[in-house]
């Protein structure tokens, strides 16, 4: 097997593995579900995720240690991760190959020429690392997730490609999953892929911050691509399909080389080798974006976080609509870790975790947010899946006992992600004289956080009712009519002057049948006004019990803008957001 075939096989394998891990990252025991697959593998192999979180949190969480493997391989062999492993890189290479088909040799050579603009990716890297390192109080913000190739690909597959396929009826389990703003996520993904038609591996060459990082790490690579002096005729064929545009013909730019080995295969003189000695044509071991440009990128990256928070998004002006998943850290620490990979959203069994759009501010873009209308249910209070999948512990892994506030956590009470509020202007029993309390019924905690108080207001009648003959379980009407069946629902009562209420069992147009006899002493006099009352159970929320799961909001029959809504008030993760004593 030639090296090229091996490289292609490796790319196909890792891309398939990546897609499989995305698809399998749903809760369940079956082979096609989570069931033990290392679905975070690619994110954990990503040294940029590791380095950025290391800078922002001064720690390396769990599986992120795997990045060390990539670092070691890169130190030994250069950017083989880019050329052999990275699934996003493989997709770029494939689209680039499509775009180059049928082009003449000079055109190909032109498209694979090194351009100084390739140094841009180093600036992107500097910008993101500065943002991660130099936030307020040392904790930066992980904007790197926006352009990190693994995060970008994972997010795009999780939140755009897979939901899109499910919508087309492919591999759907039950109703297709929803993803808010999938169009924007897909647009970024597609734009990155389509740019390869302009130049192969456009994203990798010009934008990829991970590629820039690996280029720097791999500058002393033990085995490097290079030219041997003896045989080279200077024909330039080696640049025909050079993926990294690293100029193997001349002074090779080692940090640009993605070890695709096309030059090795294309050279007809055996003048290119993977060797330990430096290239005969000379090497440029470092990218050259210019000191001033790097400085500018660092400064603007460092300014990014404080500038983005000038509006107070993590302080006084925090967004109450930004309800984070259970176990999410306090907002600043959360933003120091969240890489916007969409794993929490993919694994969420109720699809209630959704990518935030720009409505929550640019810094929260595509971070997880609970949307109780879009989900299949609220946030199930016995579920802790998201925190166990989160690769950076932006949502920390909870034990069920901690979430429920049992065992050693009994003193702290259950974890709260928000609090429900009844909108009395929209709630049917509060505003519309209609029984309902679906919210109370569905409240999953015990004792229920939603409780009711019964009231018996008089029913609005078009014309007044007057008593005719009354006795036993019957009241005849002398005036007024009853709309057929309206008061026979079990919720209506006759209100006697004594204060006693007797439930209406059934009625005709002018006669009422009660479920119990009227005591003789309380019989209404003929000609007196008759009052019909409706029993309404009006919902209230007990903030000591409410955990903000949003099941009530999800089930509320006032569908558009719900009559009971959860906001982030009282959430456990922020003592500052506490609402009650």
């Amino acid at each position: 097997m030639s090296l090229i075939t091996a490289r292609r096989a490796s790319q196909v394998f890792f891309t398939a593995l990546f897609l499989w891990f995305c698809a399998a990252a749903t809760l369940g025991e079956r082979f096609t579900e989570l069931s033990g697959w290392p679905v975070n593998l690619f994110l954990e192999l990503d040294p940029l995720v590791a380095l950025a979180t290391l800078l922002s949190t001064h720690s390396l969480y769990r599986g992120l240690l795997w990045a060390l493997l990539t670092v070691c391989v890169t130190i030994l062999l250069g950017r083989v991760f880019c050329g052999w492993v990275c699934p996003f890189g493989a997709m770029h290479q494939f689209v680039g190959w499509l775009g180059m088909r049928g082009r003449s040799l000079p055109a190909r050579l032109e498209k694979n020429r090194f351009l100084p603009a390739q140094n841009l990716k180093v600036l992107v890297l500097a910008f993101f690392l500065a943002a991660a390192a130099l936030g307020p109080a040392g904790g930066g913000s992980l904007w790197a997730g926006l352009l990190d190739p693994i995060c970008l690909a994972q997010r795009s597959v999780n939140l755009a490609l897979l939901p899109f396929l499910e919508r087309l009826g492919v591999a759907a389990r039950g109703e297709p999953r929803l993803a808010q703003g999938a169009l924007a996520i897909a647009a970024v993904f597609l734009a990155a892929l389509l740019l390869n038609l302009h130049r192969p591996r456009f994203f990798c060459r010009f934008l990829c911050p991970l590629g820039a990082l690996l280029g720097l790490i791999g500058r002393f690579a033990l085995l490097r691509i290079g030219r041997t002096a003896e045989a080279c005729s200077g024909c330039g064929l080696c640049e025909r399909a050079c993926e990294g545009a690293c100029a193997p013909t001349g002074r090779i730019r080692t940090p640009e080389c993605v070890v695709c080995l096309n030059c090795l295969a294309d050279c007809r003189h055996g003048a290119i080798a993977l060797a330990t000695r430096p290239s005969a044509g000379g090497e440029i071991p470092l990218p050259d974006p210019g000191r001033r440009a790097v400085l500018a990128a660092l400064v603007s990256g460092a300014a990014l976080v404080p500038l983005g928070r000038v509006g107070g998004s993590t302080g006084a002006a925090w967004s109450p609509s930004l309800v984070r998943p259970p176990g999410a850290l306090a907002e600043e620490e959360f933003l120091a870790r969240c890489i916007r990979c969409g794993q929490c959203m993919r694994v969420c069994p109720t699809n209630v975790i959704q990518p935030a759009g720009l409505e929550e501010g640019f810094e929260a873009l595509w971070t997880p947010k609970l949307d109780f209308r879009a989900g299949r249910s609220g946030c199930q209070h016995t579920c802790i899946a998201c925190g166990h999948l989160c690769p950076t512990a932006a949502i920390r892994p909870l034990r069920l006992e901690e979430r429920l506030g049992t065992a050693e956590f009994a003193g702290r009470g259950p974890l709260r992600i928000g609090c429900a509020f009844v909108d009395r202007g929209r709630c049917l029993p509060w505003a519309m004289d209609r029984p309902c309390i679906v919210c109370q019924e569905n409240c999953p905690v015990s004792p229920k956080a939603i409780f009711t108080r019964a009231v018996y207001p008089p029913v609005r009648m078009e014309e007044p009712l007057r008593v005719g003959e009354a006795g036993g379980e019957r009241i005849g009407l002398a005036a007024g009519r009853l709309e057929a069946g309206r008061f026979a629902t079990g919720d209506y009562f006759v209100q006697l002057a004594s204060g006693r209420r007797i439930r209406i069992r059934g009625h005709g147009e002018r006669e009422i049948e009660l479920s119990a006899a009227i005591p003789d002493t309380e019989l209404p006099a003929a000609g007196s006004a008759l009052e019909i009352a409706i029993r309404l159970q009006q919902p209230y929320v007990d903030p000591r019990r409410c955990i903000g799961c949003g099941v009530c909001e999800h089930e509320c029959p006032v569908l558009g803008k719900r009559a009971i809504r959860v906001t982030a008030e009282n959430e456990s993760r922020h003592p500052r957001h506490r609402m009650t004593l």
């Binding site: 389990r173 679906v438 019924e441 004792p447 919720d491 159970q537 029959p557």
Partner: protein, 327 residues
């Protein structure tokens, strides 16, 4: 032809024919697509009226009350008192078991039908010669989570039953003749296709709005669409369900009753060991009997009287001379 060439006859005819064809096509297509009315309002979907009656002639009014702590034993006892599972399931029957899987809640919290009961009932149906047994519900929480966490899914599969999770294609609009609420309403009819026997299995639960969630309330789980709206007239809705759904048999599991905080429960302190399992062919009588486990009288539950008046059963269950057995 170069542009400078004069138009010859052949070319003129060719162009004229092409132009004529183009105009005819454009005109024809416009004519075909022409719509002088504009769109109509909501499409009217023709609803099926009613559901098949699964009750068996000659078994009306059978009722058994079994006392004991072990569900598989009390179910066996109760069924024997009713004449044996064989009098309800015959060889070749296709049985649908409607469980209550409303919440993603573990069996110990008794918010859902107990998996032991599901397993035993499926086993008995197969033992009686059933050709197929299907278990279904349209839960409130995420269906897959509900069937998994409640243990109903694994129990059903272990016993050999097929599990049907609701999906849009399984609902068809149904109207109840003479009903005022169930009009053109999506009902989970998909799993009913080809079914010859229907068995409802529900736990005994407190329910704040309707008073109690028993076997009649369990049919709520066959409804789809915006069924939450029915809470506004819940008693009438349950009475209509009692008329719409005529099961072969219902089993009410009061081994553990949810006394408070229903229908979700969530704590062991909401439960009480009431050690009773009720089975029968008259769901109204079964529920009237089960209400007592919650400390309620039938008069406290308006849907029972309404169901009786609609001809769906008997509230005064003692009139049916229930067989009382115990382990």
């Amino acid at each position: 032809m170069r542009p400078a060439d004069p138009l010859n006859r052949r070319e003129f005819l060719r162009r004229a024919a092409g132009a004529g064809l183009g105009i005819t096509l454009a005109g024809g297509l416009s004519g075909l697509a022409f719509d002088p009315e504009g769109p109509a309002g909501l499409p009217r979907e023709e609803a099926k009226t009613g559901l098949p009656d699964f009750s068996l002639p000659g078994t009306a009014g059978r009722l058994a009350i079994a006392r004991g702590a072990e569900r598989r034993e009390t179910l066996g006892l109760a069924l024997r008192a009713l004449g044996g599972i064989e009098s309800f399931v015959r060889p070749g029957d296709r049985v649908l078991i409607k469980v209550n899987a409303a919440f993603a809640s573990p069996p110990i919290l008794s918010a859902t039908t107990h998996p032991d009961l599901v397993f035993e009932l499926v086993r008995l149906c197969f033992a009686a010669g059933a050709a197929a047994v299907v278990v279904t519900d349209n839960p409130i929480n995420d269906p897959a989570s509900c069937f998994a966490l409640s243990g109903i899914g694994p129990a059903a599969r272990r016993a050999g039953a097929a599990l049907v999770l609701p999906s849009e294609g399984l609902f068809t609009p149904v109207s109840l003749a003479g009903g005022s609420l169930i009009r053109n309403w999506p009902v989970l009819t998909g799993p009913l296709a080809g079914v010859t026997r229907l068995i409802g299995v529900a736990p005994v639960k407190d329910h704040h709005r309707s008073g109690a969630s028993l076997t009649l309330k369990n049919w709520y789980g066959l409804l789809g669409g915006r069924r939450n709206l029915f809470h506004q007239d819940v008693h009438r809705l349950i009475a209509e369900l009692a008329v719409l759904v005529r099961p072969t048999l219902v089993v009410l599991d009061g081994t553990t009753a949810m006394m408070t905080n229903g229908p979700t429960g969530g704590s062991l302190s909401d439960l009480r060991e009431t050690r009773t399992l009720i089975a029968g062919t008259d769901p109204v009588a079964v529920d009237a009997c089960g209400a007592e486990l919650l400390g309620k009288r039938p008069g406290d539950l308006p849907f029972l009287g309404a169901a009786e008046r609609a001809g769906a059963g008997t509230v005064d269950f003692r009139r049916l001379a229930p067989a009382e057995v115990s382990t």
